[in-house]
């Protein structure tokens, strides 16, 4: 029998695992351990979902504020059209005045009317250039207005998505709370149907975990040869362990059936 098999057997005997097909204390310990870990994971998931929900709510508030701001910008952009249109109308009137001055100058004849025609022509040219610049300005204003409207649409879409996300996170929180409650219920059922109390089960689970680690390390060392040196080195640590296991085993034999 190998060292590994001997140690495993001793541990199984110490933990009362020779149960002939029934659920052993070790199985129960592992069940408790799994249930506890699942419960902790569910609690963590609930906390994380709550934090994500709070972040989603903040995001939605920020998007609401951004949408309000964008709507105000769109309205302001529309407001600027009125004075710009008034400016255009005024320039159109100025152009008519210049044209009429030119016509009046022409009617006065070349000698008397020429200065008036020259001034009228110059004025008309300036007004026409101003009108062209204003039309360009109006075109750009229109483009900016369309961009603002597109921005508002995008923000509205982002708001809708943020609201959907917040709703889904709420549903996820509810589902995680259900899972947590189910795991608590599972723990209660386990305690009712188990012959091992949860504290002992926790200690057993820890012991089993350490025993598995010890076995793995000893198996690795035994493969390296020179077992005498290995045992010599480990004796101070393994001696008390063997003694503790022996005590456990004897104590179990003394227990009434």
């Amino acid at each position: 029998m190998s060292l590994r098999e001997r140690l495993m057997g001793a541990l199984q005997r110490a933990l009362g695992e020779e149960t002939g097909g029934k659920r052993s204390s070790l199985d129960e310990a592992l069940l408790y351990d799994s249930q506890e870990r699942a419960h902790q994971a569910a609690e963590n998931a609930v906390r994380l979902a709550q934090a994500a929900g709070a972040t989603a709510a903040q995001q939605k508030s920020a998007l609401d504020a951004a949408a309000d701001h964008a709507r105000m910008l769109v309205a302001r952009g529309r407001d600027t059209r009125t004075p710009t249109q008034q400016l255009r109308d005024t320039l159109e009137r100025a152009k008519l005045v210049a044209l009429n001055a030119g016509l009046e100058g022409a009617r006065l004849g070349e000698t008397a009317g020429r200065p008036l025609v020259i001034i009228a022509d110059e004025t008309r040219g300036l007004v026409v250039r101003a009108l062209e610049a204003l039309d360009e300005h109006l075109t750009m204003l229109g483009q900016v207005e369309r961009e603002r409207e597109r921005l508002l649409e995008r923000i509205e879409q982002a708001r809708t998505r943020a609201r959907d996300l917040a709703d889904e996170l709420l549903r996820a929180q509810a589902a995680e709370r259900d899972a947590e409650l189910a795991l608590v219920e599972l723990g209660r059922t386990l305690a009712k149907t188990s012959s091992t109390d949860p504290e002992t089960a926790r200690s057993l689970s820890t012991a089993a975990e350490h025993a598995r680690g010890l076995l793995a390390a000893l198996t690795a060392l035994s493969a390296r040869g020179d077992r005498g040196q290995v045992l010599g080195t480990l004796a101070p640590a393994l001696g008390p362990l063997f003694r503790a296991l022996r005590e456990l085993y004897r104590g179990r034999q003394r227990e009434p059936e």
């Binding site: 159109e92 009137r93 008519l96 044209l99 009429n100 001055a101 030119g102 016509l103 100058g105 022409a106 009617r107 006065l108 004849g109 070349e110 000698t111 008397a112 009317g113 020429r114 025609v117 009228a120 022509d121 008309r124």
Partner: protein
């Protein structure tokens, strides 16, 4: 200030007036015909005709639309009667070089707009319509 004869200038190679754009083409209106350029007021239209009536500078004048432009009216004097031309856009005013019954504007030969003919055709169409209505009523 003494006003000269608006139909001619001292220099026969120069003409006084305005250049308008109507239906995509440029036309010259002599200063003797064109009196004033005004923003287009509300025009009460005669159904089915390019004709209307508007209040311009305190006077009720007939309006003949020559095109689709709707921003200005050119108030004209045709044989002592005031007529407003609409559907056009005034481009320039002043003196222009003459070129065989037309003027030159920016190297382009611009023929004169026959305002009297436009008025006569509108008048003839109206009279014809009135005659048709009378016949129908009889």
């Amino acid at each position: 200030m003494t006003r000269s004869d608006p139909t001619t200038t001292a220099n026969p190679e120069r003409a006084a007036g305005i250049v308008v754009e109507v239906g995509g083409a440029r036309r010259f209106v002599p200063a003797g015909i064109a009196r004033e350029i005004v923003p287009r007021p509300v025009v009460s239209r005669v159904p089915g005709r390019d004709l209307g009536v508007a209040l311009v500078s305190g006077r009720v004048v007939p309006v003949i639309d020559l095109g689709s432009d709707r921003e200005q009216l050119v108030l004209c004097d045709v044989d002592g009667d005031a007529v407003a031309l609409g559907g056009l856009s005034v481009i320039e005013s002043g003196f222009f070089d003459t070129d065989r019954g037309a003027v030159r504007v920016g190297g382009e030969r611009v023929p004169e707009l026959d305002v009297a003919d436009a008025v006569a055709r509108t008048e003839a169409a109206l009279l014809a319509a009135a005659a048709t209505m009378r016949e129908r009523d009889a």
